[in-house]
Symmetry: C3
Subunit: 339 residues, 3 copies
C-alpha cells in the first residue's frame, strides 16, 4: 500500500548557551535549533468529486537524546499532530490534536520561523524559562490543541481563515473550552495575518483546573492565578527581493490584572546559497499580578546556508535581557535535515 508516508525534520546544534537570568554558561549538543525536530506519518485518500480523507500522526522528539516530545512532562506520543478529517471545495475539517490559532501567524511572520530556541518572538510568546528570571510564556494554551475541531475556509484570492475550537471535556461544564481564529493573506510580495484566541484550557499539561495563564508551569510571584487569557496578534511581511521584512504586534490580557505587549521586527536577506536572518522582539509585561512591570529584549542574528533543498547549516548569535536579570548571550551552530 502507498497510503501512508513517513516524513520529518531532524535539527541538532552545538551551542554555548546563556539566557537572561541564567547564572552560568552551558556547552551543549541540543535539539531543534531552527525547527522543532519531528517525525511522523501522513496520508491522503482521494474519495472522488474533489473530496479527500486526510490524516497526520506526528511526534516531536529531541535529537540530542532521542527523548519523545519537546519536554519531559505532559507530552503525548503524537505530540505534534494526531488528526483526521475531510477536505474539498467546502474547505477542510480536522478532528483531534492539531495547530492552535497562534501557530501559523507567529511562525510565518518572523525570519526565524518556528524556532523555539533562537527566534526572539517565539521565545517571548511560547517558552517559559526555569531560571532566576521566572519568565513565563506570554501566550497561553500551547501552539497545538488536543480534542480540537478546525474548520479551514477555501482560499479566496490569497485569503484563508482557520476557525479553532477545543473541547475542555469537563463533565457537566461545556463552558470551559478554547476558541480562536486566524487569517492569512498572501499576494505577490505582500503577506498579512491576524489571530485572536481565548484560552481557558492549558495545553498540553494543565497544572491545576483553574490555572491557565501566562504560566504553564511557573507560578506568578503574587500568587494570583489566571483562569482565562485573551490574545490578539497582527503581522505583515513584504518581500523587496534584496530583503524580506517582517513586523508583528501582539497583546494578551487576563481575568486578573496582567498584560503583555510584544513588538517584533525582522529581516531575511538572501546572500549566496543562504540568507542572513535578523530579528528583534520587545515585550512589556505589567499588572498587579507581577508587581513592578518588566521588559524583555531579545535579538538574534544568523546565517542559514542551504547545502541542498533538504539540508541546511546555520550559525546564530542571540542576545537576551530581562529587567533586573543577568544578560544572556548564546551561540549555536547546527544542521537541519528534512526527510
Amino acid at each position: 500500500q502507498t497510503s501512508v508516508s513517513v516524513a520529518g525534520v531532524i535539527d541538532t546544534y552545538v551551542g554555548s548557551l546563556k539566557y537572561s537570568g541564567d547564572s552560568g554558561r552551558t556547552s551543549v549538543v541540543n535539539s531543534s535549533g531552527m525547527t522543532t525536530s519531528w517525525i511522523g506519518f501522513k496520508g491522503s485518500e482521494d474519495l472522488g468529486n474533489g473530496l479527500n480523507a486526510n490524516f497526520k500522526l506526528t511526534s516531536f522528539f529531541r535529537s540530542d537524546t532521542g527523548a519523545s516530545g519537546r519536554f519531559n512532562e505532559g507530552e503525548t506520543l503524537f505530540s505534534r499532530d494526531a488528526n483526521v478529517g475531510l477536505s474539498g471545495s467546502f474547505g477542510a475539517v480536522s478532528l483531534g490534536r492539531d495547530l492552535a490559532p497562534n501557530f501559523l501567524p507567529s511562525t510565518l511572520f518572523n525570519p526565524f520561523g518556528g524556532s523555539f530556541k533562537l527566534s526572539p518572538l517565539m521565545l517571548h510568546m511560547d517558552v517559559p524559562r526555569f531560571n532566576a528570571s521566572g519568565w513565563t510564556n506570554s501566550v497561553a494554551g500551547d501552539t497545538g490543541w488536543s480534542n480540537e475541531i478546525i474548520y479551514t475556509t477555501p482560499n479566496f484570492a490569497g485569503l484563508k481563515a482557520n476557525l479553532h475550537y477545543q473541547f475542555g471535556e469537563v463533565a457537566g461544564n461545556t463552558g470551559k473550552n478554547n476558541v480562536g481564529a486566524n487569517l492569512l493573506y498572501f499576494h505577490g510580495p505582500l503577506g498579512l495575518t491576524a489571530y485572536y484566541q481565548r484560552v481557558q484550557v492549558n495545553n498540553p499539561l494543565e497544572v491545576s483546573p483553574n490555572n491557565v495563564q501566562p504560566t504553564t508551569n511557573i507560578p506568578l510571584p503574587s500568587g494570583m492565578m489566571a483562569a482565562r487569557q485573551s490574545a490578539w496578534f497582527v503581522g505583515g511581511s513584504y518581500d523587496l527581493t534584496i530583503a524580506k521584512l517582517f513586523a508583528t504586534y501582539d497583546q494578551t490580557s487576563h481575568d486578573i490584572d496582567l498584560k503583555d505587549q510584544t513588538v517584533q521586527l525582522g529581516a531575511s536577506i538572501p546572500v549566496g546559497a543562504g540568507a542572513i536572518l535578523a530579528s528583534w522582539a520587545n515585550t512589556k509585561r505589567e499588572g498587579a499580578a507581577i508587581g513592578a512591570s518588566l521588559k524583555r529584549n531579545t535579538a538574534s542574528l544568523g546565517y542559514d546556508y542551504n547545502v541542498s533543498k533538504r539540508t541546511d547549516l546555520y550559525a546564530v548569535y542571540m542576545y537576551d535581557k530581562i529587567t533586573d536579570q543577568t544578560v544572556g548571550n548564546s551561540m549555536a551552530l547546527g544542521i537541519r535535515h528534512r526527510f
Copy 2:
C-alpha cells in the same frame, strides 16, 4: 527494502457522552469510536517450501490527544502487537505480545465489532467504568497477552483453532500463568465460535500479584480479591442477506463467589452504501463478593456509511443502565480511516 509495511486505523468522533453511573454529560472529541486507533509495522518473509517468517509491531493510540496506548497507565509502546513467528502447512506459531483467546470470538460475533466505546458486548466484557457504578469488566486479563505463545491450526474446511499460553514469569513458580483456546468456523452464511480461558495473570497492568479479576483497577466493594477467573463463550452469526444476525452467550466464574453471565443479540442491515447496526447486551452479576446482584442493560443503534473501502462515517446512539445507577445515553458522530 520492501520487507516492512506501515498500516493502521485512525478513528475519531465528536460525542455527547453519559454512561450509566455518570452524574453529568460530557462533550468531547474522542478516539476510537468504532475501532481502537492503532498504527504499526508488519512484515512477512518467504522462506521457501510454504514457510514464512512474520512479525507485527503495532501500537494503540488516542487520536484526540496523540497519547500512546488505550489508557494512561501500564501500556507498552507496542501495546497491540509485538510478535514474531513462523507459519506454514503446520499452521502458525507466534511469540510475544498478541491476541488473548477472548478477542476474535467477541469482536467477530457482534455488529459493532471491536468498538470498546459503543459495542454493548465489548463494554460489558472489557471496559471498567471509573464512575459511581464502579463497573468492572466481566472478562479478566485484557484482550491482548504479553509473554505469550500462540499455536494456530491450519484451516480445516472453515474451522480454525488457536491455542494460547501466557507465561507468568514468576521466579520459582511456573503455576501462575494464563491459558486458553478458541474455535472459529465460517461456512457460507453461517459462523460459529467458542472460547475458554483461565486467567491468573492480569494484563497489561497487574495492581497486585494476587488480584486478577474482574477488577482491573476497581476494588470489589466486599474487599474480596480474585486470583483466578475461568471464562467460556459461545457465539453464532447467520447472514440472511437482508440482515446479518448475531447471538453470543458467555459466563465467568472465580475462586471467590462471583459470577457474570452475558447475553448479546445483534443485527447488521445493509442500507445504501452502509449498514444499520443494532446490538443489545445484558449482564447479570452475582455472588457474595459484590453483595446484592446487579444487572446491566446496554443497547446501541447506529448507521455506518462507507465513503470508500478505507473510510467510513458513523452515527451511533447508545442507551446504558446498571441497577441503582443513573441512566446513560450517548451520541457519537465519527470518521474512521484505514491506511
Copy 3:
C-alpha cells in the same frame, strides 16, 4: 519520497533462566536473545561531491511485551540512535545520541556479538544483576551516549578510528563529560581492535550527579561512590575457515579503589547452514570499595541456524558463577528476524 527507510530486528526466545545469584528458575518468553530488538528510521541524502547528509532514529524495544527501551527507567523513545551528520572524503561527523566507544570493539570481537542476554563478555561488561549477587556492569556509561559528537576517520587500508565526546551539559561546569576513542582493523582473516574511554557521565540514567561507576543502579556494599572510570580494551580475531577465533582483554579503574579485569575467549565454527558458537569470560573484581575480591565465570555454548539471510533460529546453554553465589545455568531457544 524515498528519503527514509524503516528497518529493525525482532528477536524473541523461550527460555528457562537462572543467573548466578538467582534463588529460583524462571520460565519466560523474553526479548533480545541474540540482538537487542530495535526498529527505526534511516536516511541518507547525496549532496554532491561525495558529501552525504545522514540520519538515524532508532528505538530499542522488548519483543515479549512491546515495551519501549531495554529497561523500564531512563530510556528515551529513540534509545538506540538519534543522530544526524555529514560524511564524505574527510570521514564522518555525527551529532546526538549514538554509539559509545566501547560498543563496536566488544560486540565485533566475541562470537555472540551484541547479545546482552547470552554473551559472557557483554554480560560482564554491561549488564547489572538485581539479585543476591548485586553484580554491577564492569564498564560504566552505557553502550550509547547522548549529547555526543563522533568523528570517524576514513578507512586507511582496513584501519578506522572513532573519536567520541559527550557533553555533560552542566551549567558553568564544562569539566564533567565523557571522552573516548576506538580503533578497528580488518585485513583478510585478521581483525584487531582497541578502545579507551573515560566516563564521568552515566547513561542513560544518572542516579546521582556524583555516582558514575561501576554501579548503574546497584550501590557498592562499602557505600563508596565512583565519580570517574577509565576503561581500556584490546581484542583480536582470526578466521581459520574451519573456525573463527576471538580473544579480548579489558581493564577498568576508578577514582576510588576498585578495579575490574576481564578476559574473554571464543570461537565460531561453521556447521551446516549455521555455526556453533562458544565463548567464555572471566572477570576479576577487586579493591577496598567491594571488600573481598570476586570472580565471575560465564560460558555459553550454542548453535545458530540461518533459515535465510534475514531469519535465524538459535539454541544456547549458558553457565554462570560468581564467587559465593548460587550457580546459574540457563537455556534459550529463539528466533531472530531482520527487516
